[in-house]
């Protein structure tokens, strides 16, 4: 028996030693690492970038990276949607509004050492609109189709002067030129890498590309020769942490020093922590439930408008009940938006009545929202011929969006609200990039989606999301495939006049019609929220939700 005891003691000692090693290793990481000689900003993202070609992306994960590598002719002043010179020093618009001539900045170099000049500008634009351009095949250029089709040509006047010709006046074009879609990329770099040019992106911006480890991180380093002066941080790393709790923990544990999309339930925790700072501002965005009204067209000649030979066909997600306006209105009555905003968004948003943010000009204050009234919803459904409701599918994306923190939860809440009025909904959860492809293809009867404004102009919401021309199957901006000719005419008129009062009147009229037709249930305008460590200074929240790290310093 004595020997048994000593054996137990031995086993016990072994166990204690093993535990000791484990504990030592656990705690050793808690000792503060000596401050790095370099200033490194690691930013926690909720998802990885799709691509690094600024003209070929539509998602915020991609643009947050490209916005620090590339620049455009003009840019937004920090925190606003007013433009100021960037790669262009000045410009002149012709009297008829159809020609804008830009004087380009001298002495700017791309990261590969080549000069920024008119050739680079021509290249960046032409590859998107000219179907015969050798690089046109390498992208889909969705944003060009949504917002830039009025540009007919970009021509070189001399090495530092370019002229942009528009086929018709476009009141929002100047401000749209600050967008990422028309950022200037290096033609020499493209010539070297051809189709893989944007696996080695080269721009003129404050940070240079170093590496991209898929689903893990993208590393950028400071461009010491940046024309405005070197940035104050040496390295900028975007780290992918899809789990929001892990993201917050990483921030608290000093593994990252900034993050996006904190979970609304964790705001109190962040604000109470003296080592963290919480940045929040009303968002220039909209979150909506789109009801597929049924028909779209194939834009075979890629000119952005439905031509005579491009016929209207049923979208793959065509669902008869949703072609009926009363049904769509019933769905609006069935959903309690203020409860969703209060309890799921945790008050971090405002209830949306119309499809654009209330602080943009042209917002129609007079429209009264559909109140939450399930009884009225059932009544409308019965009138429409569906006394027992119907079954359908609600598509939802699995990842956080700027306008919707937890889409599957919101989808489940909507599922529950609709069940109370006999509409039985199955959820179809799809991963984000596939989701974009499929909803742009109209495969859904209903889907959750949203939009962050790009240029502060109402056209950027209204025309892109609700215009008849945007019902293009495969690249639709209008995922309810709402094809009202009167509304499209209002939008077309509104973009072609420079008279702001007139434009506002036209947009307000459109909102009334849209409200009646109810192709969408407008849910919320979410706030933009980020969290940083307290020693990260200089970050400015932008209404466009773009992240610019050039002014940021770490004290």
């Amino acid at each position: 028996m004595g020997r048994d005891t000593s054996d137990s003691i031995k086993a016990g000692v072994l166990a204690i030693v093993v535990c000791g090693i484990l504990l030592a290793v656990s705690f050793s990481g808690c000792v503060q690492n000596p401050p790095a000689a370099q200033k490194i900003l690691i930013f926690g993202s909720s998802g990885d970038a799709d691509k690094l070609d600024p003209a070929d992306v539509t998602d915020q994960e991609s643009t947050s990276r490209t916005d620090n590598i590339f620049e455009s002719l003009v840019e937004y002043k920090p925190g606003s949607t007013e433009i100021q010179p960037c790669l262009a020093t000045s410009w002149n618009t012709s009297a008829d509004g159809k020609n804008i001539t830009f004087n380009l900045r001298h002495g700017v170099k791309f990261h590969d050492g080549t000069d920024f000049n008119a050739d680079a500008v021509i290249f960046s634009f032409e590859r998107q609109y000219n179907t015969t351009h050798p690089y046109h095949q390498y992208g889909e250029w969705a944003y060009w189709g949504w917002m830039f089709t009025d540009i007919s040509r970009v021509e070189k006047i001399d090495n530092y002067t370019v002229n942009i010709m528009l086929s018709k006046p476009n009141a929002a074009m100047m401000t749209s030129l600050a967008m990422f879609t028309v950022a200037i990329v290096s033609p020499t770099n493209a010539a070297v890498w051809k189709g893989d040019a944007f696996k080695h992106p080269v721009g003129t911006g404050p940070f240079k590309f170093v590496e991209w480890v898929k689903d893990d991180h993208i590393t950028l380093e400071a461009n010491k020769d940046y024309w405005r002066g070197a940035p104050k941080i040496d390295k900028l790393i975007f780290r992918v942490i899809t789990d929001p709790s892990a993201r917050l923990l990483a921030l608290q544990a000093n593994e990252i020093n900034g993050m996006e999309f904190p979970d609304p339930s964790s705001f109190a925790t962040i604000k109470a922590n003296p080592n963290l700072q919480f940045l929040s501002a009303p968002g220039m965005n909209i979150a909506y439930l789109a009801l597929n009204t049924g028909y779209g067209y194939h834009d075979t000649n890629q000119n952005g408008v439905p031509d005579a030979n491009e016929s209207w066909v049923k979208t793959p997600g065509y669902f008869a009940p949703l072609t009926n306006r009363s049904v769509r209105q019933a769905i609006n009555y069935a959903i309690n938006k203020s409860s969703i905003v209060k309890n799921l968004y945790k008050g971090d948003a405002t209830v949306a009545i119309n499809g654009m943010p209330p602080f943009l000009f042209g917002y129609n204050n007079a429209i009264v929202d559909y109140p939450y009234n399930p009884a009225k919803a059932r009544e409308l459904l019965t009138e429409a011929g569906y006394p027992n409701g119907f079954n359908t599918t609600l598509w939802v994306m699995t990842s956080s969006r700027p306008y919707m923190f937890d889409p599957p939860k919101i989808a489940e809440a909507i599922q529950s609200y609709l069940a109370a009025v006999n509409i039985s909904v199955t959820l179809n959860q799809v991963e984000w990039s596939t989701y974009l492809q499929k909803t742009q293809n109209g495969e859904h009867p209903m889907c959750l989606l949203g939009w962050t404004g790009d240029n502060g102009d109402p056209d950027n919401f209204m025309n892109v999301l609700y215009g008849r021309d945007k019902c293009t199957i495969g690249t639709a901006g209008n995922v309810a495939f709402y094809n009202n000719t009167e509304v499209q005419d209002l939008f077309t008129q509104a973009i072609q006049t420079y008279n702001t009062t007139e434009r506002a009147r036209l947009y307000k009229e459109a909102q009334v019609i849209i409200h009646e037709d109810a192709p969408f249930v407008y849910l919320a305008h979410a706030n933009q929220d980020l969290a940083f460590k307290s020693n990260v200074k200089g970050f400015v929240l932008n209404p466009t939700a773009r992240y610019f790290f050039y002014p940021v310093s770490i004290t």
């Binding site: 020997r3 048994d4 000593s6 054996d7 137990s8 086993a11 072994l14 166990a15 093993v18 484990l22 290793v25 656990s26 705690f27 050793s28 990481g29 808690c30 690492n33 790095a36 490194i40 690691i42 889909e140 898929k214 689903d215 893990d216 991180h217 790393i237 780290r239 942490i241 899809t242 789990d243 709790s245 892990a246 923990l249 990483a250 608290q252 544990a253 000093n254 593994e255 990252i256 699995t398 959860q429 799809v430 991963e431 990039s433 596939t434 492809q437 499929k438 293809n441 495969g474």
Partner: protein
């Protein structure tokens, strides 16, 4: 012995072929057009026609199978629909991460499981025995993803002792050599990295290793009990050998035989468990890749992952089999 190995190798060939058939069938059984399933929604008609011609999708199924198999044997598993990267690259990027996790889990499972089993057996029917076996029973009844969440909750969130995601603190510079980060940090002499990597391995390793640990503990115990009862042990005792020597020299060595088999047989549990553990801990391994690619309907990637998993599993089983025949003095190879 050599002949036995060759015979076993020959035996697994039809199994591997069968696995490839199932993987191939996946492209065709899944709903939708097979060419689109391989290329994705946004493929142009030109690309679809190219694929149709290349795989001869108009040709009979068995011809298509052989064309595809030929590609696979050349290492071409196609391209991921989402990332457009080659499937073999996507998998090989992540494979070392899963291997390291599995090894960490196995080390934990074997160390704790064997020791616990031995202690339990030598103190049969004592309070220790019942406690250990009780814990083991809980161990095999726990869903690995719940255990992962609980560990994460307690040690990561509430106590804040350990990180809950990723493989390494990104502020630490790290140079990748083999992809096995523990090895790499040792090779490059990077102490800070080594500690960070080990810290990130602890919770997922424990989560993944608990079920195998419980199984190993139980098997060790019953194996030890059986061995301890046997005649030759009594002979050794009668000879006057100290109890400790009896246990260490003879009992353990003989008891380990079925334990080795159990470790091999439960390797499948490790692979399945890795899928769940990697999801919980955001571990960049092949397990999470399987889930992500099934969700995204990225069929080329799904098939690639299945092939890799099945292949690894089959090979490990084979090795275990051979090891078992080698070390068990009682087995005669036919």
């Amino acid at each position: 012995m050599k002949w036995y190995i060759i015979k076993r190798l020959l035996q697994i060939i039809p199994v591997i072929l069968g696995v490839t058939i199932i993987a191939f069938a996946l492209i065709h059984l899944a709903p939708g057009d097979p060419a689109r399933n391989m290329l994705g929604q946004h493929a142009t008609q030109q690309e679809i026609d190219q694929i149709r011609e290349k795989y001869g999708l108009d040709k009979p199924l068995y011809v298509q199978y052989f064309i595809w198999l030929g590609d696979v044997l050349h290492g071409d598993l196609g391209r991921s629909i989402l990332s457009h990267e080659q499937v073999v690259v996507e998998i090989s990027d992540r494979f070392p991460n899963t291997i390291e996790l599995a090894i960490a889990a196995m080390i934990f499972a074997i160390l704790i499981g064997v020791v616990a089993g031995i202690i339990s057996a030598t103190k049969q029917y004592s309070a220790t025995d019942y406690t250990v076996m009780g814990i083991a029973l809980f161990g095999i009844s726990m869903p690995v993803f719940w255990l992962g969440i609980m560990l994460m909750m307690i040690f990561g969130i509430f106590l804040g002792w350990l990180p809950i995601g990723g493989r390494i603190d990104l502020l630490i510079p790290f140079h990748r050599v083999t992809g096995l980060m523990v090895l790499d940090s040792i090779i490059t002499g990077n102490g800070a990295a080594l500690i960070s990597v080990l810290r990130h391995l602890i919770l997922p390793g424990i989560a993944l290793g608990t079920i195998p640990m419980a199984i190993i503990a139980r098997t060790t115990r019953s194996s030890m009990l059986e061995v301890l009862r046997q005649d030759f042990i009594r002979t050794e005792r009668a000879k006057g050998l100290s109890e400790r020597k009896v246990i260490y020299k003879h009992a353990i060595r003989n008891a380990m035989v079925p334990v080795v088999t159990v470790i091999g047989m439960n390797f499948g549990l490790l692979l399945s468990g890795a899928i769940l553990t990697e999801t919980v801990f955001s571990w960049p391994g092949v397990g999470r890749l399987v889930v992500d690619s099934v969700y995204a309907r990225d069929y080329p990637l799904v098939i690639g992952c299945i092939l890799v998993f099945a292949l690894v599993f089959v090979i490990v089983n084979l090795i275990t089999d051979l090891l078992y025949t080698y070390i068990d003095p009682r087995i005669h190879y036919e």
